[in-house]
Symmetry: D2
Subunit: 390 residues, 4 copies
């Protein structure tokens, strides 16, 4: 790790610990996430501290995934940290994707305001289960983009659209296939848009994402040729580019959050007494904290391993699947133990531990539930074995 | 099981399914539990349907624990069911205790309005961890009751006092020991009381209990001799009477809730498609539902086994510890799988599944965290072995 | 439970504890199971003690499944107990099946010597995986029975044939279908038979079954009409009759074995010291024993629940699947913890704990691996849901 | 990783796959481990192939721990591989220790024949539980070394002494403290010795270690000053030097073994059919193999992480504890799944899978059971927290 990265990570850590954590009790964090003015207030301070969008250099290039990991883990030390530093989902992934494939004019119009931390974005892919829409199986895409002159007209419904409320930029996945076949394409849109109606913001178990998660109806949304990202039909290929880094950055941020939860639980167990000794002196508690130590280390090692794979230029599809499953499950165990060790305090909002637990529960589902990753890993195992055997 | 119990349980089930479940989306359920007027509305309907306080007969006697299980599981089919039917915690346990040990005047003044479903109650035992107060280890009791003529003056702080907000009756545990020794005593108080100040209602991961969980300061609360439950110094012995039935009734209600969550998840998996087939046809999903089936059955068997032990007249301390650990852990696995099977829908409030998951998480802590029960079971194993060996 | 059953169970327990357990160090128990003369010696003593074939009454009728459970759990207290008492697999299941469906002459020739404990038997169903033969999926049956006059000529290979070596009776499953369809039929044969060659006795992780598990070749085995059990093509239906009771009796015996392993581990933890106290006083050890207590109780409750279902006359296919999965998994956890608690002694043969661990590992596979049961339970869940919904 | 290491590792892998694996069915592997002449035969071939003692350079220096990991994982691909290549326990750890602290004459007399692969060694530390001797808690050391002129006279009992049978060198831990205090010292002895009597070779669940595990009585064993390793009373400090590398090398070898078991199980699942498709196409099987992939990767990452810590010169006590717990538990899950996936074949000795399962079960206990490591990690967490807080 370069000295520069270490210094950046230290600066981010100090910012999150000193500046961001005091905001954790700010009433502008609602069950649908932090409100817009809280975000702007935090980002102003991050800009002043030199830690805004820390993973993208002034020239627009990105840190390596390894260096990104070092920095993003630190932004995750508070659930508000990623939003404060502009390393939050889905913006981080959206910026990554646009940085790779956006045209010059798309960069100016959509990407740059995001990098400057002025604007948030949303990724409109998932569709309602009740419509048998795209979810874990993206091929079930229902939203259509029908050509109309040089434009397309988009119709459909989207759900769990994180950060949509309050976003300035949207990336919409729609089917441009004409003959019953799915040809997914991605379009960039300015938000808010009169053609996209919020049916409702969902109430969900997690609450860290600004804007929450929305259920949307897209009705006759007109997009022009220059709003198309890449080429028609490239939607899934573009999604693949975004996939592993975005997935990995979730792991990074939540690792930071769980490291913090573990700190809080350890401090509690070193302070609270029961049956004549400190909680941590009870093996029933101490062993749980020891298990945390191991799970946190394993999560960290998986993240850096996957980062290194991505830094070779690989898409890292299997590696990021393995990492996502391992990290989400390990962090859930960590968060669950922190709750348990802290007893009643653990299920209250007196610390962030209960929130982290709720967030990680959701994380076991979004970005591919554990089962879908294992399904694709099993397919890969079969493929690899049959190839090696032939 | 008697025919009578079966009919009562059927009536309760129909009431909960037909009348209570539609209220699950009523906005009067807040993060601090259902509001008072929602409770009264539900109880009026329960009274009309003949299912209010179904586990206590008109003469004040209680159903056997086995019959109570059959009925309470059904009230649990909705998180609102127990409140609607007056089988909720802590009232059910408080009514049980008062039914066993209250004096005639105490019954009239405190118990009867509760049995009629007019009044809720609270059990003021747990104290703040930051004060090193009573929690899993009740001997750390800090609240004092100092004699003053024929009265006592109570001072102290209490926390996680479920249902305090809006309650009409409180049972306060305080130390009447004079010489540095703990002599716990229980006092009945009318609520609200000017001497008990709510510092705040805690924000917690669960949200089913009316009134939520409060942090309280008791300042010079004067109680008279006739508010003393039993005798001075009997507090822990009285708590033992309440302990196992109250613990077991939590298991009953939450079993019902998890049976319902499992129904919802199964229906979802039989409806939602992915990768060319129904979710339930994927072994990765179907096996989770099969595991639920097993866990639900085991939870049920443990509950009835423990009920039978209590019905012999035993205090059932070890048996209710075993049951609480086994049931809370099994139901958590069930709730967790239901969330997972339902994907994004599972972490949203579109169904009660996410709530049930949150509730069961808290249940693994209250009424004795898993670790405290295992600690006492291990002590019993050692004691039994050494006795048998001698 | 009747007094009679309780007394019988007590007698069995005393016999196993006083007479059988001392034989556990007898060198006639090999890695392929106890030798024939050890079996005869034990059975002679069981006969004298009035505990031989205790689950079958003199008139040939069987105890209820509930009573059988009470007795078989006790025979399981030693890995040698079932063989000593003639309640071992596969004999117990074979006697059950023949008791239900054998003709008069078949009873005299095959069943009665088994009930008298003179002869062991084998159930020739499973076929080698390398042949893509019948295993978890019985429809893959490869062994054929071709009509030849009034007889059939059987050819095929069988594997994991428990107890074949030394058996006097065999039940052979073979395909009598003529047109490429599978029509399974069962035949009774005297053993040893010149037409059945032992390729080898397998070396397996378990070692409690007399005769071990054999890999066999059947070459032109001629069987007559009166060796056919039931009717041609009834093989799978007959297997269903044997299925649940045989499966459940495995659960019973292994529960007894794990109760004993838990006794041994508890005694060890109450004797061995480390770091200044008894092992059991370390929560890391005591909690494991507490978990055992819970798992053993749950296993017991599942067994009695399933027994009650079978005692209603139901085939109990789903219930025995649920029970098998729950019990095998619970007992494996118990055996694993006993090993762990005892440290080095736990992995040695100084006690039966290591053997019980090995046996239960195998039990998670035979009689349907966990996965196959969950697969059928998931199918049932889907079927039941769709039926209820329609 | 250097090119040289990669080439060495490749050579070792080819040797183990091509030469050693065919010996896995050699009847000279008994339940007490491979016999002496099998060892010599394998080592002769390893010497010819240039892979004998591959982790020690001709000048006696050792590869880094990172390079050692790369090589030892490959020797572990067969349970016979470490013995063949002279990287087996306890020799590898003993050579490491003597390489660090032996005097010149001790190196010549004891170490060099071991490095040449001519002689095996044993580490006599653990004592019988029934004597309340040294085990997880080394301070319970009972064996005494009483000064007698310039010599010491050693008396005591030792157990689980791996490889003692057939060893040429022994390292004996004994108490040289005079005043009731434990002052552990290590002595080098030539074996066999008339003063060390084998009470018996234990029957244990594992079977890969040459010579098995012995229970010994040491009666008036006279050792001279030059047989003392280091200084009197340094025994525990010397044990610390050996501790982490020896512990880590177990992880390396067993990782190799589990990688191989996973290969075997995958091949099986890609070949065996049930219910109309390949086993691996069943999610219930494929997900288990996917879990293996993740566990194997995590085990590998922990090993290399810990190796890097040791390569900085740190004793790595906590890191090797974390690694041992994580790796032993992960590999047990892997081995258990391999058994399960392979059904009946998995519990037979037709492949090494059942053996690997048995070996890993024992590994969860030796070199510190999981619980002891968590105990020391919890103590470290408390210490670190209190230091940071002060």
């Amino acid at each position: 790790m370069t000295n520069e990265t270490t210094q950046l990570a230290d600066r981010v850590e100090r910012f999150v610990r000193d500046v961001v954590i005091p905001y954790e009790r700010d009433p502008r964090s609602t069950s649908h996430g932090p409100e817009q003015d809280l975000m702007h207030e935090l980002r102003t301070k991050a800009r002043q501290a030199g830690v805004l969008t820390p993973h993208i250099r002034p020239d627009g290039s990105h840190l390596s995934q390894r260096d990104t990991a070092t920095v993003l883990i630190k932004t995750g030390l508070s659930p508000l940290g990623p939003l404060a530093c502009n390393t939050n989902a889905p913006d981080e992934g959206n910026m990554y994707l646009l940085g790779k494939v956006a045209s010059e004019s798309q960069r100016t119009r959509f990407l740059e305001p995001m990098v400057r931390g002025e604007v948030r974005s949303a990724f409109l892919m998932t569709e309602p289960a009740d419509d048998q829409g795209a979810g874990s199986d993206p091929s079930m895409l229902q939203t259509t983009a029908i050509p109309d002159g040089d434009d397309w007209i988009i119709n459909g419904r989207k759900t769990f659209i994180t950060g949509f409320k309050g976003a300035g930029v949207g990336i919409v996945m729609a089917n441009t296939g004409s003959d019953g076949k799915v040809a997914a394409s991605m379009f960039l849109v300015d938000l808010p848009s009169a053609a996209i109606r919020t049916e409702r913001v969902l109430d969900t178990i997690d609450s860290s994402f600004a804007g929450g998660h929305s259920l949307l109806s897209i009705e006759n949304l007109r997009v022009s040729r220059e709003q198309l990202l890449g080429e028609p039909g490239q939607g899934f290929a573009l999604a693949q580019i975004r996939l592993s880094p975005a997935r990995l950055s979730h792991c990074m941020r939540w690792l930071g959050a769980c490291q913090r939860a573990h700190e809080i639980a350890t401090a509690y167990a070193c302070r609270r007494r029961a049956f004549g000794k400190l909680l941590i002196e009870h093996e029933g508690v101490g062993f749980q904290l020891a298990d945390n130590l191991i799970d946190l280390k394993q999560a960290e090692l998986m993240i850096y391993w996957c980062a290194d794979v991505l830094d070779t230029g690989s898409l890292g599809v299997s590696e990021s699947s393995m990492t996502k499953v391992a990290v989400a499950d390990a962090l859930f165990r960590v968060a669950d133990r922190c709750v348990q060790v802290m007893g009643g305090t653990g299920v209250s909002s007196d610390t962030i531990v209960a929130q982290v637990f709720r967030e990680i529960r959701a994380f076991r589902i979004y970005d591919g539930p554990t089962e879908v990753h294992k399904w694709s890993l099993a397919k890969k195992l079969k493929r690899d074995h049959l190839q090696a055997a032939s």
